[in-house]
Structures are given as structure tokens and as C-alpha cells.
Amino acid sequence: MEKRIEEYDVVVIGGGAGGMTAALYAGRARLKTLLLEKSLIGGLATYTSEIENYPGFPEGIDGTELMKLFDKQFRKFGVNVKLTDCKGVERLEDGRWCVSTFRTNYYAKAVVISTGGRNRLTGAPGEENYLDKGISFCATCDAARYTGKKVLIIGSGDAAIEEGTFLTRFCSEVWVSVVHDEGHVDANQVAAEKAFKNEKMHFIWNTSVDSFEGDDMLKRVNLKNLKTGEIIPVDVDGCFLFIGYLPNTQLFEGLVNLDSRGYVITNEEMETNQPGIFAAGDVRAKVLRQVATAVGDGAVAGSMAERYISDLDTIHDDILSKDRVIVFYYNASEDNDRAVLLKLETYGKEHGIEIKPVDIYKSDKVMRILSGAHLSAYLYKEGKKVASASLKENFDLSSIESAL
């Protein structure tokens, strides 16, 4: 099958809260924007039945409902949506990025990575066979299924202890496998105390999962005592894993810098180490992963993508596509800089050469992309830098003049 090529200003990878917000900002800035989502729009927030800490909804709102509102809003700005897997991102020769799916290569000036994460597995034998057949990750989603039944929770962080406490409203028994010594959990103190007092909750200390067993459905989890090596079989109707979260960044390994846990490293402007690639939402290395923080990331990523594209256009239209032009980087808020510019513009008129002043007061991106320096002038001929002169100390253009 011949791959199609489609051109966009911005491609957003991932349709959760962060990605939708980035697409909204890009679309509203009238950029040609595409959002790719591998399954359904809404991301992780759709697994939460009640979101009480997203401002603007004082009564709380169902996660799926909230994401439907996000969906409706970003599509208003002409964003295209493709529901398909992203297969990879590669740099094109002209500096744009190629985002590939199985049928189409999307050429984009800027890319926003907002691929979120997924739940971590134990890696124990048998696990694969019982995912969604007794092994679950969302108490809110699956609690009702275990009404009057016995479940085991793996983990002792906030999610494990809080969701476990929630499950006691439905289940007859909630067992918790904790790797730490008796009395120690990773969860916050308030949640832990509540759980210790709960008669339906039972803790199995110093254990991790050895294997999962069952027939069509999960029937037993064998725990291993980490100190004695003893195997403790626990017969269960269901097992919930709350042992952490992994970022969906395998596709981007070697492309952008990741931290030791695989999250994408960005600066405050959501820029990765690759020019034109931004990241937003849970996939970023950051302290708090919430709808509210994803929205903030998305807004910044969307508008920084817009600024980056306008810088690229400057570079292309005003510098690289000219026969010859002198580029000068100055700070328009400095008297001295403006005076030097004035001299340079007079020089340009006298010698019949165009001057392109680039103000670095608001953004120095163009200067950085073209590896220029403050108060320096560069002569470009047909897209190539052929001479430079620093005008910082004195107004000496001899090196440029000899190359004219």
C-alpha cells in the first residue's frame, strides 16, 4: 500500500486532556492541526467516575463527561482528528518532522507528544492471561463486579490504599500485599490510618507476586514472602494492581531526552531537546499528574508551538529564501542596540543590501536556531551564512563587505 503524505503545521500525538488542550490552542491560532489518538478520545481521565478537583465544576463531574466537553471544544477550532496508532517520529531533511501512521506520513513543523502512560505490571508468570479476566487497574470501574467477593490488592501507595478502602464498600474481603515490614505503607498517613481501622482490610506484609493462576478467570495469586521465600497462595475473585505507572515513550527513545523512569524531559516552555518537539501532560517528567496540570501543559505547548512556527517562517521567508540579506540580532529595549541598528540600516541603504533586524527581546529562538549572537550581523547568500561581524565593540563591517 502506497503511503499518503499530508502536511500540517502541528501534529498532536495523544488525545487526553493535555493533547486536546494543545490542539485547541494550536487550532485557535489558526494553525493547521491534527490530533492522533490510538483508541478513544479522552485518555486516562475517562477512567475516573468523579473528578472533584477540576476547577469550574463545583459539583464534580464524571471524567468521561468532562472529556466529551474538551472534545467538543477543541474540534470547534478546525482541528482534524485521526483515530490511529502513531508508529514513529523522524526528522525530515528540511527540519520538519514526519509522524507516521500505518497509512499516512504526516509532515509537521511542530509536534506535541501527549501520549500519557499506562499501568505497570508485576511481570509475574500467568499475568498476561488474566488481564481484564480478574486482573484490574481501576477500582472505580470494576468495583461493582466484585460485590460480595474477595479481592487482593498489590501495592501500598496512595492509589492502592485509597482504592482498597473504596473497594471495601463492595467486597466482602480486601487483602493487600505490601512489600514493606508490618505497619509500613507508602500511602499518605490519613489514608493509611483509615485503612488500618477498616475491618474488611487485611494486610500481608513483606510480600510480592510470585505467580497468577486460574482457568478462564483468575482464581489464585501466589505471593512470595520476601524474607523467608515462603509461597503464600491467596484464593481470590479478583486482583487489583496499583504498583505504579509507566510513560508511553518507547516510540520516542533516542529521539528526545527521557529521564531515568522514561518520562519526557522538557523545560517550562514544554520544549524537549529537539527543536519543534514539545511534550504535555502525564508523559512529562513532573510532580503532579492531574487533568488540571495536563491542561496547563497543553496550553503552553500549543502556544509555544505557534511561536516556534512563526520563528521558522521568519527564518525561511525573510532569511533563507533571499538572494542576499544581512541578519542582525538586537534587543529593541536597549538604546545602544537601536543606535547600532540605525547605523546598519544606513549602511544597507548605501550599499543596496537588505537588512533583516531580528528583535530578541521577546524571544531569542530565531537567533538560537541559526546559532547567531547578540549584536552580531550575518551575511546570508541564497540560504547560506557566508560572513559575520560582531558590532558589540565597534561598528566594523569589513569582513562582511569583502564577502558582498
Binding site: 500500500m1 483508541s39 478513544l40 482528528v81 485521526k82 483515530l83 490511529t84 496508532d85 501512521t101 500505518f102 497509512r103
Partner: protein, 75 residues
């Protein structure tokens, strides 16, 4: 590398899924099936099934409440 269109417009679940499964069975590896659907439930179960089989899947919104599910039989 043939491409085949399967019209499931106006059909409710599970008809589109069953038709899709039957159509894929008849196809060769590398062939592409485009399923036209307008029932939201088929929008979930058809791609879910195809992804579960390890096929490439893309969903295109072709109109208001109308989708094309593109499935490449990869094995």
C-alpha cells in the same frame, strides 16, 4: 494488496463486527478492509477486535456520526 469496502451503514451491533470478521477471513495478508459504520457501538467493538488480532487500524470520521474503520490484515 487489495482494498475492499464493506458497507455497514444503518446496521446495529453486532452485525458490523460479524460482517467484518467474515470479510477479513476471506482476505489475504496485506489486504485492506474499509468498514463504513454509523453506530457508535460498532465504532468501539470493530476496532477493538481488529487491534486484538494484531491488525493495523485507523478510524476516519467521514461525516457527522459516520466513520470508516480501515483495517489492514497484517498476518
Amino acid at each position: 494488496m487489495a482494498e475492499k469496502y464493506l458497507d455497514c451503514l444503518g446496521e446495529a451491533c453486532p452485525v458490523p463486527l460479524v460482517k467484518t470478521q467474515n470479510a477479513i477471513k476471506e482476505m489475504a495478508v496485506g489486504d485492506v478492509l474499509v468498514v463504513g459504520i454509523d453506530h457508535t457501538c460498532a465504532m468501539k467493538n470493530v476496532p477493538d477486535w481488529a487491534r486484538g488480532q494484531g491488525y493495523n487500524v485507523e478510524i476516519e470520521e467521514v461525516g457527522d456520526g459516520e466513520w470508516e474503520v480501515v483495517i489492514e490484515k497484517t498476518k
